[in-house]
C-alpha cells in the first residue's frame, strides 16, 4: 500500500493526492484529509496506510524449494558426554588457529572417530570453518562430521570439501574422484589405488600423462615409489628419456635407480663403481672415493647435469659426484663396501668428498632406512644441522626422542625445542617415557621468571603441551603461579591449563 505513495514522496507532493482506495480504508483516507495542505494530508495518508501495513503481517506465500532434511544422526556426541565440554572448548577457538589449536582439533577428531562418535551439532560450523582453512585437518575431520555435518556442508559453497563428492572421496575409494576431484584429492586417491593395485595405477597414470601439467606429472610419478616394481621400468625409462620437465626426469631417475635390473640402475652403478676403490694398508684395507675427472656425455640422458649451477657451493667435480650419489640407492654403498651406515658416514667425513657424499645421501635416505637417518643425524656440520628436522621427521617418534634432551631448559638452550614441535605431525604425540620428565620441566617453568620476557618460550610451551603423551597429563597439578606475573604470563598459564584440561578429558 505504501508503494502507491512512493512516487509522490520522492518527487514532492504538490496538489494531487494519490489515487483513492475503496472500502473502509478509502473512506478513512477521505475523512482524515482536510484539504488545507496537500503535503499534510499526504502524511496523514501515509500514517493510515502504515498502520494498516503493520496490522497485516504478510508472509511470502510463493512456493519455496527447501533442501532435503538431513538424515537422522544418532552418533553425535551427547550433551551429557564427559568429552562434550573439552570438544566444545577445542572447536570454539579463535578464527585463526595457532599450531597447537590445530593439533588439539586433530586430536579431538581422532578420539571421536575412535569412540565412534561425531561432533555435536552446535560445533559443526566452527569445525567446517577450521577444515576450510586447514587442508591437513580435513582427512580427520570428515569421518566425524556425521550426517548432519555433511548435510550442513552442502548448504555452504565454502564447505564443499566436506559435502557429498569430496567427503566420499576421502572416506572411500570412489573412482569418480579421478575424474572430478581436485588435484590433492586425486593425488590421495591415486596413492590408495597404487597401494591396492600397483599395475592399475601405473596404467592409469600412463594414460593420463598427456593431460597433466609438469608439476602434477612429477607429483603423480613420485607416488610410484609405493610398491615400486620391475613392471614400472618401461614407463619410468620413457619419462626419464623424453619428459620435458627436469624435476620429473630426476624423479624417474631416482625411482629407476631403485630397480636393480633397470638399464638406468646398471648405468649408474657403472659410473659410480670405478670411483670407489679399496686400498690396502699395513694392517687393514680401507676405501677411497674419487670424483669423476670429466663429465660423461651420457649423463644428459640420466638427469645428471654436467654444467655446475652458478651459485653452487660444491666444486665442479664434487657437483658431478653429488648428482650420482643422490640417485644411487643407499644399499649399493653397504653392499659394495660391506660397511654399515654408521661406519660409512664416519668414513665419508674423512674423505676429500665428504660434502658431496653426505649431501647426496641425505637426499636419498627414506623413512625405510632408520639406521642411515641416525648415522646422518650424528653429523655436526652446518649443512647436517640445517636438514636435521627433515631427517628426524622420517624417524618413528620413539627413535627421534633419543636425539633430544628431556628438559625444556636444555632443549631451549640448544635450540631444539622448536625442532621437536616441527618434527611432530598433528595427531602424533611424544612417547610416554619421554613426556614424563619433559612435562615436569614444563610446569616448573611457571614457577620462576623464565616466562616473563621470553615470548618465544611461552609460545613453545603451549605447542609442546599439545603434543606430550596423554599419560603425562594425568600427573598435572594446578600450575605454580607467581604473584607478580604479567598479563602475558597469566594468559600463557591459563591457556596451558586449558590445553591440559581438554586433553586430559579426552583421554580420561
Amino acid at each position: 500500500m505504501i508503494e502507491a505513495l512512493l512516487k509522490s514522496a520522492l518527487l514532492g507532493v504538490d496538489k494531487d493526492l494519490p489515487p483513492a482506495l475503496d472500502g473502509p480504508v478509502g473512506a478513512l483516507l477521505t475523512r482524515v484529509a482536510d484539504g488545507a495542505d496537500a503535503a499534510l494530508d499526504f502524511s496523514r495518508h501515509a500514517g493510515v496506510l502504515a498502520a494498516c501495513t503493520r496490522a497485516a503481517v504478510t508472509l511470502d506465500s510463493a512456493a519455496v524449494t527447501l533442501p532435503a532434511a538431513s538424515p537422522a544422526d544418532t552418533q553425535a556426541l551427547a550433551a551429557a558426554h564427559p568429552w562434550r565440554a573439552a570438544v566444545g572448548a577445542i572447536f570454539s577457538g579463535a578464527a585463526f588457529d595457532q599450531g597447537y589449536e590445530t593439533r588439539l582439533k586433530h586430536e579431538a577428531c581422532l578420539r571421536l572417530a575412535k569412540a565412534g562418535a561425531t561432533l555435536p551439532f552446535a560445533l559443526l560450523p566452527q569445525a567446517l570453518d577450521a577444515g576450510q582453512r586447514n587442508q591437513r585437518l580435513r582427512a580427520v575431520l570428515l569421518p566425524v562430521l556425521g550426517q548432519r555435518g555433511r548435510w550442513l556442508a552442502a548448504q555452504n559453497p565454502d564447505w564443499k570439501f566436506a559435502a557429498g563428492m569430496s567427503a566420499a572421496a576421502q572416506s572411500e575409494d570412489d573412482p569418480r574422484v579421478w575424474q572430478e576431484g581436485n588435484h590433492l584429492e586425486r593425488l590421495a586417491w591415486f596413492g590408495r589405488l597404487r597401494a591396492r593395485d600397483a599395475q592399475a595405477a601405473r596404467e592409469l597414470l600412463q594414460a593420463g600423462l598427456g593431460e597433466l601439467a609438469a608439476k602434477e606429472r612429477g607429483e603423480f610419478a613420485a607416488v610410484l615409489a609405493i610398491q615400486l616394481q620391475a613392471g614400472d621400468t618401461p614407463l619410468l625409462e620413457t619419462l626419464l628419456a623424453k619428459d620435458r620437465s627436469r624435476d620429473l626426469r630426476h624423479t624417474a631417475a631416482r625411482l629407476l635407480a631403485l630397480l636393480p635390473d633397470s638399464a638406468h640402475a646398471q648405468r649408474l652403478a657403472g659410473w659410480l663403481a670405478p670411483l670407489l676403490s679399496q686400498k690396502r694398508g699395513l694392517l687393514s684395507r680401507s676405501w677411497k672415493i674419487e670424483a669423476p675427472e670429466a663429465a660423461d656425455p651420457a649423463w644428459a640422458s640420466a638427469a645428471v647435469d654436467a654444467a655446475r649451477p652458478q651459485h653452487e657451493a660444491l666444486g665442479e667435480r664434487a657437483w658431478w659426484l653429488y648428482q650420482l650419489v643422490r640417485q644411487a640407492p643407499l644399499g649399493w654403498w653397504t653392499a659394495q663396501t660391506g660397511m654399515n651406515p654408521a661406519d660409512l658416514v664416519a668414513w665419508s667425513s674423512k674423505t676429500d668428498w665428504k660434502d658431496a657424499l653426505q649431501r647426496g645421501w641425505r637426499e636419498r635416505v627414506s623413512a625405510a632406512e632408520p639406521d642411515w637417518i641416525e648415522a646422518l643425524l650424528s653429523l655436526r656440520t652446518r649443512e647436517a644441522r640445517a636438514s636435521a628436522n627433515e631427517l628426524l621427521a622420517l624417524l618413528p617418534v620413539a627413535r627421534r626422542e633419543k636425539h633430544w634432551a628431556s628438559s625444556v631448559d636444555a632443549l631451549w638452550k640448544d635450540g631444539t625445542l622448536s625442532d621437536i614441535i616441527a618434527a611432530c605431525a598433528p595427531g602424533e604425540t611424544l612417547s610416554a617415557d619421554y613426556s614424563k620428565p619433559l612435562f615436569a620441566s614444563m610446569t616448573a617453568c611457571f614457577e620462576d621468571d623464565r616466562l616473563r620476557h621470553d615470548y618465544g618460550l611461552r609460545g613453545c610451551l603451549l605447542e609442546l603441551v599439545a603434543l606430550v603423551h596423554p599419560a603425562a597429563l594425568r600427573e598435572a597439578r594446578t600450575l605454580p603461579r607467581r604473584a607478580d606475573e604479567t598479563p602475558a604470563m597469566a594468559e600463557c598459564a591459563q591457556r596451558f591449563e586449558h590445553i591440559v584440561r581438554a586433553r586430559a578429558a579426552l583421554h580420561a
Binding site: A39, A50, L66, S92, L479, E497
Partner: protein, 450 residues
Amino acid sequence: MSQALTREQVLALAPDSASAKAATGLLADSKWVTLGTDAEAVWGECQGSGAKPYQAQVELATLASRCSCPSRKFPCKHGLALLLLYAQRNPRFAAAAARPAWVDEWLASRRGRAEKKEKAAESAAAKAVADPAATDAAAAKREGARWKRIESGTAELQRWIADQFRGGLARFGPEQRRDWAAMAARMIDAQAPGLAPRVQEALDFMAAGVAHYGKVVEIFGLLQLINEGVRRRAQLSPARLADLRAALGWPPDKDEVMAMGEAVTDQWRVLGQVIAEPDAKLSERRVWLQGVASGRHALLQEFAYGGRGWERAWRHAAHYQATLKFFPGSVPLRALAVDVAAESAPQAWRAGAAEAAFDALSQAYAGNPWLAQAPLVFDAATPFRDGAGWRLHTAAGTAGLQIADAAAWSLLAFSGGHAVGVMGEWDGSRLQLLSAWDAQGAQWTPEVAA
C-alpha cells in the same frame, strides 16, 4: 536451587561465549584470594592484572551479580567463574569466614532498593487514598507542563514531515542529513525521547539508499499518527493514551505500575532474551516470558547504565513462579516482575501453530501500530538459505530473518533442514530469532556457549 546449581546452568547465564570462555580460565584456586558463601550470597576476590583484587559477588536467590571490575557484561567473567567454582563445590567455600562488609553493603543496598520500591508504591497508593485531590493536582500540573512541550514539539514535527514530503525525498542530501539529525535531537528537548530514535531510523533508511525510501514513508506516517494523537489526546481512551505515551517515551513510573498495574500470577516460561546496546553507556535487556496457565506474553525490559547490572538472571527455557504487573496499553506486553520464586521444575509447555501466531501478531499491531516489538512463538519452522539470504519457512508462508551469518549457520546446524519450534521478536516488519527448540527439547539461542 542454589544446591542444584550446575555448570551448565552457570554457563547459560553468560552474556556471550567469550565471557564463558574467559571465566573457565579463572578457575585456578590461586586466582582467588578469598572465596566465601552463606545462605544468601556467594563472593570472592579475584586477582586481576591490578594490585587490588576484583570483588565479585552473586546473590543466590536471583543470581544477580556485581563485580568491581570495569566490564560491562553481566555477569562478568569473574561473576561467572565464581559461580562455576561454587557449582564445582570448591572446598574453600565451606571453610570460609563470615560475610565481609562489602558483600553486606551490596546485599543491604539491594534490599534497600526493593524496600524503597515497595514503600514508594505504598506511599503513592496511600497518598492517592489520603489526599487524592492534592496528589492529583500536583501531578496534573507537572503532566500539563510536559504535554505542553510535547505538543509544541510534535506540532513542529508535523509541519516538518509535511515539508519533507512537499519537497520530495529525492532532494535528500548532506544539508537534509544535518537537518534530520537536528530534528531527532529536537524531540529530546521536547521531552518526547521516544520520537528521536524513530526520526533517526528514518535517517538511517535514507542513508541506506532509495530501495528503503518506502520504510521512510512508513515511519513518517506512523510519526504523523503520533502527532495527531498528541493533538487529540483528550478524546483518546485510557489504553490508547497509554500507547501514545509509550510511543513518546513517556511510560508511567514503575512505582505507579507496581501499585496499579494489572497483576497476573502464573508459572512464567522464559522464551528468549536479547541484550541490545543502543549506545556506549547504555545496555538494554529484553526478556520474553509466557504464562503457562494464562498463555499471556510478557516483556521484561530493563536498562543498565554504566556499570550497573541486571536486577536478576532469567535462565533460558526455565520456569519461574511470579506475579507480573503489566504496563497499561491496548496491547499490554511490558511488565515488571514481583515476588519471583526460585526457578521451578520444568513444566509441560507447547507453542501454537504458525498461522495462529502470525494472526495474533497482526492483531497486536492492529491494536497498537507503534509497538516497538512483539513476540512471535510457534511450533514449526524450517530455517534455510537462498539467494536472498536467511529465511524461515512456515505453514503460514515464508519470512525473512534478521540474523548474523554465524548465528544463522549454527541455527542451520541445529535444525538440519527439519522443522523446529521458534521464538522471535517482530519489530513491525522484520523477525529476529531469539530461540529455537527441536522435538527432543534441545535448545538453540543465537549465542550458544559452547
